[in-house]
């Protein structure tokens, strides 16, 4: 995979506009290069705001979902490339996996690299993976894979069944009340300007009664709920089942497992999942 090196994080405007324009159901084309950007200093003010919105305590160590947020504009930039036939417009974030290899401090200078690949057939279109890596020097400290479903895209071959995390209905241990401005607040700290999260009309255009909260907020909030009990290096695997409408109330439940936690964000009575997450400690 070739690399394109950027000297700074691209502004989201133009690339996002391109990445948002829907494409017709042609065969999937994806950029073959990756994007790298080094010497990225983390902005402590934005980090603090991110932590407030997601429920993390401000420490000298950052949440792995924060590192995902840092790589996000690069993904948008990559999907806005003319070599890409996949557009974020209409693509649904179906699952996510990230590994924090070691605690990362807020004052560490990072190298970010993202790529896109692994197109595969799905009953409702095509799945692609947005992959990202965060390094300190040459040392990988974080790896992430976000899997999106593009309903407009086609890939030849048998649709592969998507592996689902197991879910057992149960009484939620916590109820989170998500205010209607949460989408805007998360947009401001994440830089994800997708209108589906903030605008009623845009949400309706995609078949939702109201705006929906970003899946990555739900992911972050679930990790924040485990604060103080997370190991120092772990893999968090998330499956998004059903979007959460804003404003709304959801349930949260966590159960310890052999190497971590199994958690669920559900509807209020715990009968249906919005998001399932497992956390597993990884050896160093």
């Amino acid at each position: 995979m070739a690399q394109v090196v950027l000297s700074e994080i691209p502004p989201l405007g133009a690339a996002f506009a391109r990445a948002m324009v829907p494409t017709r159901g042609a065969a999937v084309r994806l950029p073959e290069h990756s994007i790298v950007i080094s010497r990225v200093d983390q902005d402590p003010v934005r980090l603090a705001a991110y932590n407030r919105v997601c429920g993390f305590t401000l420490r000298d160590h950052v949440a792995p979902t924060w590192l995902h947020v840092l790589t996000f504009p690069l993904h948008i930039h990559l999907l806005g490339d003319k070599a890409s036939s996949i557009r974020l417009m209409g693509a649904v974030h179906v699952s996510n996996a990230m590994t924090l290899h070691r605690p990362v401090r807020f004052d560490e200078t990072l190298t970010l690299e993202v790529g896109v690949g692994n197109p595969r057939a799905h009953a409702k279109g095509a799945l692609i993976d947005l992959v990202g890596q965060v390094r300190v020097g040459d040392e990988p400290v974080w790896d992430g894979v976000s899997t999106y479903l593009s309903s407009s895209a086609k890939v030849a071959g048998e649709p592969q069944p998507v592996e689902r995390l197991p879910f057992e209905p149960g009484q939620p241990q916590a109820l989170w009340r998500l205010p209607s401005d949460l989408g805007r607040r998360y947009r401001d700290v994440s830089g994800d300007p997708n209108l589906i999260h903030t605008n009623r009309l845009a949400a309706k255009a995609f078949g939702f009664q109201r705006p929906i909260i970003h899946g990555m907020w739900t992911h972050a909030r679930a990790l924040a709920a485990l604060e103080g009990r997370l190991p120092d290096a772990y893999t968090a695997t998330v499956g998004f089942a059903k979007p959460v409408l804003l404003p709304g109330t959801v349930g949260f439940a966590a159960a310890p497992t052999e190497r971590g936690f199994s958690t669920a964000v559900t509807n209020r009575d715990g009968s249906k999942p919005h998001m399932l997450m497992t956390v597993e400690a990884v050896g160093r």
Binding site: M1, A2, Q3, V5, V36, S38, R59, D60, H61, P103, R105, T111, V136, G137, D138, E139, P231, D232, G283, R284
Partner: protein
Amino acid sequence: MKVIEKAYYSPVGKKVAAKAGLSEPPRLRRGRDYPRGPVVLAAPAGSTLVAEALELLGRTSESPVLDTGGDKAPGYGDRIGAVVLDATGLTDLTQLEELRQVLRPAMRAIEGSGRVIIVGSSPEGDWERLALTQALDGINRTVAKELRKGATSNLVYVDPDVTAVDLLPTLAFLLEGRSAFVDGQAWTVRAAGLEEADTVGGPAERPLAGLTIAVTGAARGIGEAIARTLARDGAEIIAIDIPPAGEALANVANDIGGVALQLDITAPDAGERIAALVAGRGGSLHGIVHNAGVTRDKMLANLDQKKWAQVLDINLAAQLRINKVLLDPATQGGLVDGGRIVGVSSMVGFGGNAGQTNYAASKAGVIGLVRAMAPDLAARGITINAVAPGFIETEMTQLIPFVKREVMRRTNSLDQGGKPVDVAETIGYFLDPRAAGVTGQVIRVCGQNLMGQ
């Protein structure tokens, strides 16, 4: 990322690099895993020492395929995990041929991250025996260089009265992934008079269970890895670092359920403060790992008194002062009999390095300290040893310019830099209560780096 670094990681660059022999480095087996394939044991002189030690470890072994003649060596049907040569008891040079007979078929059969372990008798006896002893080292160093895919070769000299129990922790360390980045090294195991392996230390997985160990420089990098690795092995860690590193230190300590001590080790009362903390907690100190160190690099022509004194004080003089306090039997919370001292030297301490006179002096001094103190501490059963890391991937080495860094990384037999945990595992081996027969030794954790001896 500099231009050259980009080019290097690009597909074209990778092809060029591959042609230049710089292929992707092998991934090393780490942790407590044993080799996948079988352990092959050969004892040409009929010694049973290694066989007994393997039995104590609960490992089975197979007989070697021997090359007894012909142009083409006979092969093993499948990959083998390790070859252990019990060369104790060899008396004349012609017996070296039996080593060749074992090693030739094995060289192609050894799996990735496999092991060659040669166990020889310590130098003693007539001229021929002494020559033979040294010849083993030549074989070991060369086998280490010829092995591929992360396989290593190391040599252990054993004193005459060494028992299988004495050898056990060393053999386990070498076979397991813990010794991943130790290659081409030779060290000595002495008789420690331990009766039974299971009368000392915790279970094999947690040999340091319940033991209090102080680690200096524990907030970051290698020191952090040491603290975490020793805690994994059951130790109760006193994590020490300078006050400005306190928040990272607290994080490490809370992660591993240890205690954070913000302390400048050059303070005149540093030793007393460590001991006071141990005594106050009602414990006794099993070991101290002197990991804290700094560099203040300048060519000697530009090296001022301050940079000279600072490096020598932090890297060498401080641990001498601390050791004196902790070894004083009158010190409450000092080292117990049977305790452990571990220093951190550097390959620069063996080989020197331009721009690092002060650092080289301090790290060579650590080696001197280990060799000098070991005999004096033997009566109390206290061991003192050191690791000498080669190129280890840390935040500090990330600051080295790319080309230089890549060269430093590649100039060893394993074709890569080591990880902080590799240094930590070797330190854990020294701290193991079973390793009572290992003292006065300096083990390089360098992947057989070309620098130095």
